[in-house]
Symmetry: C3
Subunit: 287 residues, 3 copies
């Protein structure tokens, strides 16, 4: 299995990692050792190892917002896997020109929902595993060696039987409610490192409820505060002031220019975020 073999299969030798292992323990490093022992030319990229422990929802959003920025033929490994060693299966899925290896616990829900054609196999063939296979660290014993083999051009078909994507575990959709009155009722789903409050309200949902070019005619309400209008940039309000804008992933965020919105406004995950049309039309963006 040479580099040529990789190219023949559209594989580029890049393996990304999304885990909840953190960076204090050697778990991610050990996986890299296993990968490099099999494919010394693999290029391993950490997307993040700091998914909150066991948070499959968070990981499903992270991979969905990230994978398409990698080259076609990248292998994405997701290990948020509280069921390790138990009855959950492991899936290898091909979607949108990328390959995903993940436990069948819903972590691929957002990727698969938004993809066109999806195919995959169950990862069952022990020929590619590190033995003895533990019941507590499949990242090391199954995910890493399988990803390494795939990065060298191994056929997915050699991993196990074909899976039916519709039979995989799916997370419930996490969409905002669009009420008959036109009100959008969403919530904060993530607080990023800047303290920005990322919601589940996409630009698409916004346009569906309010129409295009209505950014200046809505009011955004979080507990105790309201913001008039959607801004374009983080510095559209004075330093310290709260504003709302669509972030780089396409979802509405509440942010403070040069400040931490979550800390300053005491708002965190699951807080309600309500959007309404302003009566009487356009308002100035208020800081």
């Amino acid at each position: 299995m040479s580099i040529k073999a990789q190219e023949n299969k559209g594989i580029n030798g890049i393996i990304t990692l999304v885990t909840d292992f953190g960076l204090s323990d050697p778990y991610a490093g050990i996986m890299k050792g296993v990968i490099l022992s099999i494919n010394p030319r693999a290029r391993i990229v950490d997307i993040t190892h700091q998914v909150p422990s066991y948070d499959i929802f968070a990981a499903s959003r992270i991979i969905e917002s990230s994978y398409s920025f990698f080259p076609l033929g990248t292998i994405h490994v997701l290990i948020i896997d509280p069921g390790v060693g138990g009855r959950r299966k492991i899936a290898c899925v091909s979607a949108c020109g990328h390959i995903f290896v993940a436990p069948d616990n819903g972590v691929l829900s957002r990727v698969i929902e938004n993809a066109g054609e999806v195919s995959g196999v169950w990862v069952e063939n022990p020929s590619w595993f590190l033995h003895p296979v533990s019941k507590t660290f499949h990242g090391r014993d199954i995910f890493a060696p399988v990803a390494a083999r795939l990065s060298m051009g191994l056929d997915m078909a050699d991993l196990g039987p074909v899976l039916d994507p519709g039979a995989m575990v799916f997370l419930p959709e996490d969409l905002p409610e669009i009420k008959a009155s036109g009100t959008i009722s969403g919530r904060v789903v993530r607080v990023d490192a800047f303290g920005n409050l990322v919601t589940n309200i996409s630009r698409q949902a916004f346009r569906k409820a309010f129409g295009k070019d209505s950014e200046k005619t809505v009011v955004v309400r979080i507990p105790g505060h309201e913001i008039y209008g959607i801004s374009d940039t983080y510095d559209a309000a004075p330093p310290g002031a709260l504003l709302a804008l669509f972030g780089s992933g396409g979802f509405l965020e509440l942010a403070v220019n040069r400040g931490n919105a979550s800390d300053l406004y005491h708002v965190g995950i699951d807080a309600p975020v309500i959007l309404d049309r302003v009566k009487g039309g356009q308002v100035e963006t208020k800081a």
Copy 2:
């Protein structure tokens, strides 16, 4: 010193890093710059930079549990070095087909104890150092350039005089006590990112005390709690319940399915963990 030279010496060009530098300061990045300035083809892998400050015991366990998953011929650099610039020496040790560069402060104790043949040299030849050599950052001035040279095929013998591994600094062993009654008395030595309580009780010690296949006939006691039987997987108990199992490194852990055992049970490093045989034989695994 070409790639061919590397291969001739069994060196693979991979350099791993274990430090207590953290990731907020540029120290680890600076080391990588120094390495790549000497060997642009080096492949640098972070095992962790988040060893607790100055914690030589913790680092000795991390490297012992990690190194063997890397390819033979990997160079492992360990910088937990409160004595930097003082009288402590620096060792370069070859063991089990891997090379280790570390201060002589005991951080290699667990690797050397468990290895067969060990050879090494004292790192003293300033030809390979970055000058002027500071007294505060040997990671940058000695460890990084020496590792880079080794990764290009430099002979260990060119680093300095042969060392006697028996004359190195060793940490006291950290083994559980096996009492005449058969009781094992160990302790928590690490809390991982999931809040799992990792003990110093190995599967070997367990089998020595209780015999094989006795996982279901022991009781595990921590302050205020007891667990009947050893489980196989983290999800063998209901979500939120405490269980005991042998983790991926071969040591007994106390864990909570989808939860944080350390937080929920208020147990941390150095807490006593006592194992006893259950009177009257097998019990059901109790959550």
Copy 3:
């Protein structure tokens, strides 16, 4: 644009990253995906992603202390960019054989001040950007693709019009005050991962005020404490004792041997640090 093209331009294919993105969100990983999509051979090195949010001063010191340890021809990308999407420009600067891509907000001040000849261009040519260009994540849409192109040998001149370094935004200098009496009045500018209190008092400033070889004849005062003499190494004082020394970046630090000076002495960023000559000449280093 082959590897040969890179070498012809003195470019080495290494791209470093300094950001305030943290490691929990996928932002840094996404940038790596964009870079590798354009230049699959790029070597990406994290200097740090944990600059305090929006802290341009901190980032300016980090890059100044780090860049010169990388090979000539390295491309350094700095994204501490609270003005993203607004009126601030983006600069690509060549200095000391390295290339820097950064918002024009002062983050390159320390590098440019200490460099000899500096040249640069404004990054304006959208041919090299990822489209559509967001107003919230230029790291992904501008910095990453531009750095990737540069790492393949793209001419800086193709990025936009020539800039006048003197017209860039500069941070005020952060130098200690040297009083007529010879007293140096500085402050803590950084607390590192060990709790060491790094000051803005350089070895040069020290020598200017006190002359060479006067390390043993000064007293260092922080609120509530004084230290006699400057030490050479972190273990020159007994474990737990406070000492002062010049750190690896050439600035005076207050540190505790095997301890955390910031926690133990309740001293943090901006605390005053005063140096005076001891009356009557040399003193013993006091723990």
